[in-house]
Structure formats: C-alpha cells, structure tokens
Amino acid sequence: MSNITTYWRVFRTFARNSLIRDMTFRSNFIIDSISSLAWVFLNVVLYLQVFRFTNSIGDHTGWGRYEFYAFFSTGLIVNALAQMFFMTNIDEFTDLIRTGGLDFLLLKPIDTQFMISLRRIEWSSLSNLAAGIIVLVYSMTRLPHLPGMGQCVLYGVYLICGVAIYYSLMITLGASTVWMGRNLTLYDFWFYITTFSRYPMEIYTGQLGRPLRFAFTFIIPVLIVVNIPARLMVRPLESQNGWLAGFALLATAASVAASRWVFLKALAGYRSASS
C-alpha cells in the first residue's frame, strides 16, 4: 500500500515539475497548443469536404457522418492522452540510452520503466484533449441515441486500453534503440504506424485490405486502439462488439506484457555510454 502512495506522490511531483517548467516557457507552451489545434482543424476541414459528397464512410459500414466524427474525436482523445503522458518521455528515452543519462534512473529505488515513462507530462496536449472531447460531445448529441452511463464507463475503460496499447508500442520502439541505434526518429515511426489506426477498420477490405486488417488487429494491434471505444460509443448494438471488446482486453494485456519484456531485455543490454 505504501508502495502505491510512493508512486502516486512521485507521479504528482513529475506533473507538478512539468507544469512549473511549461509555465517558465509560456510562449512555447502556447505555440505548441495552437499548432496542434491547427492540425486538428485541417483534418476537420478535410472530413467536412468528404461528407459534402457522401453520407457514409464505406457502404453500409455504419460509419455515417456523426458516427465518423465520434470516431475521429476518439482518435484525438487517445492520441492526446498518449502524447500528454508518454510521447516526450519515450522520445527522451532514446536520448537517455545514447548519452548514458539512463544511469541515474537505474539507481533509484523505484521501477525504472515507471520513471522513464512518466517523467514529463506534456500539458500542452490538453488543448487537443479538449478539442477531442468537444467534437465527441457535439457528434454524440447529433446521433439518435445518447449513450448510457454503462457505455460511458466502458468507453473510458477502452480509452485506457487504447492508450496502453499505444504506450506499449512506443516503449518497444524506444527500447529497441538499445540494439539498433537511431535511424528514423521515434516521431516518424510513430506517425507512420499510427496512420493505420486513424480510420475505421471496415475500410480495409479486398485482397490487400484483409491481411492488413488482420495484421494490425492481431499482430500489432493498433487498429483496436480507436475502433473499439468508438464502436462501443456510437454503435453499441452490433454483434461483433462482444468478441472485439473481449479481444481488446486480451490484446492490451499482451501488449503491455510484451513491451515490459522488451524493456527489461533492453535494460539488460544497456551499455552505459562512458564519461
């Protein structure tokens, strides 16, 4: 029990220190917030155009205009959360490995992965989180049924699962720099891999689409990240949801376990940069 309070206190101090830091560089903070909002805005413009010409993404897939907006906003929320808590940290992790800065973290009587993953909280991601929530609420009110309490709770649970899967992927990519050195930046990798999670899984059809859908559901489960919470929110009654939701829990547990394993392997292979 005292263990948990220790971790909670350390986490709070991380959050506090990050906020102090952000407030000393206030103009950077504001620019970051605005520019990520601008990116969201451009995407909104694109989808507004698309829905001038069609009422649904795919034929009878169930992703009509507002369902899709709810999907889009769910993607925003998951991404904002992943960025807020983990992105900067894991990007810095690769630097820590290269420069040997990891040394100090290894000395602390507290889980090293915890320290690495949550050292900096990116408060500027709150702007995207807010944008996501606004779009979500707006699109929910436009749909025929408002979600019930249970649905909202499930949505929350699966958001966390989504963030956890993203996190596992990030930490695996970050840890692998122990062996590979650095080619592309983590951000690049990240951008390209997550493009697959940006759209509903139903769009992956046909000869090429099915294997892709399979691979990104079962091997690298990024398709689950946004799809499951969004489905449970806007299309709760579909028959597929049951097993998908069950599988999502399993995939989350497996990803987290696998990434933990990779992380520990990487630590064992860590060769502190001298001097």
Partner: protein, 273 residues
Amino acid sequence: MFARVNLYYTVLRISIAERLVYRVDFALGTLMRFLPIVTQIFLWDAVFQGMSGGIKTIAGYNNHEMIAYYLLTMVGRAFSSMPGLASSIARDIRDGTIKKYLLQPIDMLSFILMSRLAHKLVYYAVAVFPFALVFWLCRDFFKGWPDAGTILAFIASLLMSFLLGFFMEATLGMIGFWFLEVSSLLFVYMLVSFFFSGQMFPPDIMPYPWPQVLKIIPLQYLAYFPTAVFLQKVTGAELAWGLAAEAFWVVFFFFSARTMFHYGLKRYSAYGG
C-alpha cells in the same frame, strides 16, 4: 568561368558523398512515406463506396483519379519539399555561421542550391526504386501514360516546383535576419503549405470560391499543379498560363530571396553580428 563551374561541381560531389552515408535511412524513410498512401487508398475507396447514385465522382475525380492524385502529389512533393532549409538558414544567421559566406569567395544561395540539388539527386537515386514499385503496384489507378506534350509539361512543372520550393523556403529563412525566432513561423508555413499545396486533398473538392482562391496562391505549384497537369485536369491555354505563372513565381521568389539576402547581410554587418 570554368573555375566557377568546377567549384560548384566539387560542392555537389562532396554533398553527394555525405548524403550517401545515410542511404539506409533514405530507403527506409522513403518506403515508410508511402504507408499513409495505403490508408488513403482504403479511405477513398470507402468514401466512394458509401456514395449513392450512379456516377461516383467528387468534383470531377472518380475513385481511381483520387488515388492517382495522392500518388502524384508525392512525386510533386519529392521535388518541391525542402526539409530543414529555412530553419538551417535561420540557424546559420543566428549562430553566425553565415559569416563563412562573407569570407569565402562563394555565393551563399548558389552554394545552398547546389547542396540541395545533391541532396535531391541522391534522394531520387534511392527513392526511384520504392517509387517505381509503388506506382507499378498501383498502375491500375492510372488511365495509362498521357501524351508526350503532357509529360513534357509535367516535367517542366516539376522542375520549376523544385526551384519555387527552394526560393520560397530560402526567402522564409532570410526572415531570420530580422527576427531571431522563426521556428513557429516555419511551423505555420509547414501547415499552410500542406493544406494549400493540395497535398492534403485536391482543392477542387472545396466549395466555391475556395478552389479559385487556392489556385491563385503560389503554394499550389508545390503539389497540386504538377499533379493536375499529369491527370490532364489542366490543358490547352489553361496549362500554358499555369506554366507561365509558375515561371513567374520562380523568378519572383528568386529575386525576393536575393533581395532579402542583400539587405539582410547589410543589416547584419551593420550590427556586427
């Protein structure tokens, strides 16, 4: 005159050698860059499938043309994008590296243009394989090769888009002579150009008057215009006018970069750097 050519040739050669070292990054990076296209193909497929009615087109684009559009904008951007150019110029100004060009008998803009050219040539040498592979795989999205005249116009528009992209970014970087912190400005430029160049989607699908507005702005030549030429969306007199306008913008930004460099340097030496 000959010595001049020789000098720039050497700059080119050294830059090529330097870039080749990073060829793994190149090949990997180029292939990765096509991943978003894959999802775009599926997305537009789904969008067109979801449409009701017999003839499924969006602003004159059918499903195949839409995919071809995205693939071709990749080619356009391969010519016109100048990653890190403006920010490196601004950085050179800020940390004083720019003095090097004052001391050495070499013109800064020509020097940077040469190393960019080298950068691009090496990039094409490696990228041509993944590009060829992707285009071959996606050959069904195209209606076959356009006529020779169109191809010539396409190539001309691409070459000019390289120069236009270069001089536009160089001009932006020169702003660093007057303002120390340009990174946020550059980010805005990046977003704006992503949108206004037509890389995000064809401007034609916007409601009136946006397409007309977008086609006045020179940013469209970075991706939209070459693509539209290849897809024969612009032909005849419109094509001739478009190429002329693109040439005009190249010359315009060439002079704007030169002028800003000239006055910037004056200001720089007046203040002692």
